[in-house]
């Protein structure tokens, strides 16, 4: 994949976070599109989305030029990884494929140090951002209409995706906060996530 | 000593299955294959055949039952016709992909609509690309022989593929013909007991048919493709042994009749080959230089043998008994493969196809004479006017 394409991988849990994970990827791509970028956002089809709690991936890609890879359906080298449920760090090598200098965003009420102890390859990171998205807007929005390629009728960023996206802006310069605000439904949660995020530079 | 009997194709197939010592049979009735199961059921009831006889609740169940039984190490037989064949379609790919060598006897039948029960190759031909071995019998004797040959080839560990052993519904399945029943010792010499490399066995548990990832799918497709590349050598061995043990003179893939000095030929498979032979005999007496090439295996398709056999003619007429609506040749399935087989030859014969014997219609001598006229005209013109003739329905006689 052309090196100019920025790859963002979201790790979420099957069914209970299926929509939230997808909203993070879609929100990011939609906001980047407002900034004139070429974007893609899609689910990993090989993961098992219809089993409760199974680890699964959603992807976003942002580029200044047209993205030629549409059907290479894995992000091999993510520079930003978002973990929508913190316990995933014990179950999966979430930084797989990341090159040195990446950013990790985690939805947790714990401190960055508490998460980093479960990341054996943390030297790849230049920063970690923690945000208590559940504390800001409660449980994930569980909605199945967007699964398996259906049309999502609930709207983007009504739940936990909003504060996570807000936190993302604190650790990266992928998109601007106002462009995220233009695409997510729960703007208050977006701003709260942005304010309350804890950033630790490494 | 071998004994001569007069049997229908269904009854001949049942006799072959009995002598192959089939262990699990699964039935569901549909014309015209039903008599196979009637015969086998009698044999089991009378204690002549020691086999489990299971009644499926449909063709999908039939194939699922024999898949399980074959995977557990039993030699199995099932069968069907027409819409029964297509109802079980889902099961064909996993059986071939799982490399479980079940045998299915198909007495072919036209597909609906509406409820035509006459012979047509379309039912089985629609299933030809799933990885099964496939071929047609011309008469009850071949129905008997093909059963044994297909068990031997399909169960060979270099192949391990299921087999569609086909015969024309009614024409072969119902009209009795002479069948030489061999001695059991001959069959035992030809056909070793069935073994599977990894059978279902509680002492050595294995998983059959697990979920796989997309990146494993290509490998499994490749395995099946390789099995079809390896099968021809095994077929040649099996036919050589068959000819030696049973005193026959089969060719493995294509058989020729009166082709030595022929300028034109019919390319044909199944029951109507017999009528075509008589037509050729009469045409020869009038000085028409015509012969025929009969196909014995549709899968694996004998590309090389077809090319070699047909390259010596000026014109070839493919007799189609199946449909491929909207296909490149606008007719049946065989001309596609015949033309593809000939493509790399420096000198190719002119080819066309004849839709004949569809829906169970007869193909009488006069239709073969009509086809021969078209082939003569092609040679005279130096070209084929079209790729398909619907025999009996063309505006230009």
């Amino acid at each position: 994949m052309a090196s100019k394409v920025k790859q963002i991988t979201v790790w979420a849990r099957g069914v209970v976070q299926d929509k939230e994970g997808r909203d993070i990827a879609n929100g990011l791509a939609n906001a980047a599109k407002k900034e004139g970028k070429f974007t893609q956002a899609f689910d990993n089809y090989v993961d098992l989305p219809d089993r409760v709690n199974v680890p699964l991936r959603k992807y976003a890609r942002i580029s200044d030029e047209e993205i030629e890879e549409r059907y290479e359906y894995e992000n091999e080298k993510p520079e930003v990884v978002i973990v929508a449920d913190a316990t995933l760090v014990k179950g999966i090598n979430v930084l797989r494929g990341m090159e040195k200098g990446g950013v990790l965003v985690v939805n947790t009420d714990r401190k960055p140090e508490d998460i980093l102890k479960f990341i054996p390859n943390r030297d790849l990171l230049k920063a970690i951002v923690c945000v208590d998205a559940k504390g800001i807007c409660g449980e994930a929005t569980v909605d199945f209409s967007g699964s398996e390629g259906g049309v999502d009728a609930v709207g983007l960023g009504a739940g936990m995706a909003a504060p996570i996206l807000g936190a993302l802006v604190r650790g990266t310069n992928l998109v601007k906060l106002e462009n995220l605000a233009a695409v997510v439904k729960n703007k208050e949660a977006l701003y709260k996530g942005h304010e309350q995020a804890v950033v630790k530079t490494l | 000593m071998a004994k001569e009997m007069v049997l229908s194709g269904c009854a001949a197939s049942a006799q072959a299955a009995k002598m192959a010592k089939v262990e699990v049979i699964c039935s569901y009735p549909i014309r015209p294959y039903t008599a196979l199961m009637m015969e086998l059921a009698k044999m089991v009831a009378n204690g002549e055949l020691d086999a489990e006889f299971i009644y499926g609740e449909g063709e999908h169940a039939q194939l699922s039952v024999v898949l399980g039984a074959s995977a557990a190490g039993a030699r199995v037989l099932t069968g069907s016709s027409g819409v029964g064949v297509t109802y079980a379609f889902e099961t064909y790919s996993p059986i071939a992909g799982g490399r479980v060598p079940v045998q299915m006897m198909i007495a072919d039948r036209a597909l609906d609509p509406p409820g035509d029960f006459g012979s047509e190759h379309t039912d089985a031909m629609s299933c030809r690309d799933q990885g099964w071995l496939m071929g047609w019998a011309e008469n009850p004797q071949e129905a008997f022989d093909n059963c044994l040959i297909n068990y031997r080839v399909g169960e060979d560990h270099r192949v391990l593929l299921p087999q569609f052993v086909c015969q024309d519904g009614y024409f072969v399945s119902h009209i009795p013909g002479k069948v030489l029943l061999p001695d059991q010792s001959q069959v035992d010499e030809f056909l070793p007991p069935y073994t599977l490399p990894h059978p279902l066995d509680p002492k050595h548990p294995v998983s059959h048919g697990p979920q796989i990832r997309p990146d494993q799918g290509t490998i499994m497709d490749l395995q099946r493709a390789q099995a079809h590349l390896d099968a021809p050598a095994v077929i040649k061995e099996a036919i050589a042994d068959f000819n030696r043990i049973f005193g026959r003179d089969y060719s493995p893939f294509v058989e020729e009749y009166m082709t030595d000095d022929a300028e034109m030929a019919f390319f044909i498979m199944g029951a109507h080959t017999m009528t075509a032979r008589h037509a050729i005999k009469h045409l020869r007496s009038q000085g028409v230089k015509i012969g025929l090439v009969k196909l014995r295996f549709v899968r694996p398709w004998p590309t090389q043998e077809v090319a070699e056999a047909l390259s010596k003619f000026k014109a070839v007429g493919v007799v189609e008994t199946s449909t491929s609506y909207g296909g490149a040749m606008r007719g049946g399935n065989l001309l596609h493969e015949v033309r593809a087989s000939l493509y790399d030859l420096p000198k190719r014969p002119l080819t066309t196809s004849f839709m004949a014997g569809l829906g169970g219609e007869m193909v009488p001598l006069k239709e073969f004479y009509y086809m021969a006229d078209i082939l003569s005209e092609m040679i005279k013109d130096g070209k084929a006017k079209k790729t398909v003739y619907w025999v009996g329905f063309e505006a230009e006689a």
């Binding site: 099957g14 098992l48 709690n53 | 548990p205 490749l222």
Partner: protein, 108 residues
């Protein structure tokens, strides 16, 4: 002839040795957010956890006379906590434990 790279090999017909004690091709411990924790003092060995666990993640250690939990495969469904007759089992957040790390390279 075809060349199949070592990492892509699939056994003939995808017929694989069946799992006898555990299915290493489908490790499910990373589905878990909360784990069951046992208080052996309260446990009366009713074995409800063993019976109800959908993934056989509770087993009886006959030598020690106690039930043992399998962290590698427990999905954290907490059915065992619900079915425990003596309140010996309770739910605890996974990040509070150093152990129970599975950390697979790919989810499936």
């Amino acid at each position: 002839m075809f060349i199949i790279p070592k990492e892509k090999e699939v056994p003939l017909g995808c017929i694989t040795p069946a799992p006898v004690t555990e299915q290493t091709m489908m490790i499910t411990g990373n589905w878990r957010e909360y784990r069951p924790v046992i208080d052996q003092e309260k446990c009366n060995l009713c074995m409800n956890c063993i019976v109800y666990c959908p993934d056989a993640c509770w087993q009886l250690n006959e030598a020690e006379d106690e039930v043992v939990w399998n962290a590698k495969y427990c999905k954290g469904c907490l059915i065992c906590v619900n079915e425990c007759t003596t309140e010996a089992l309770s739910k605890a957040y996974e990040l509070d434990f150093e152990d129970g790390v599975v950390r697979l390279e790919k989810p499936f």
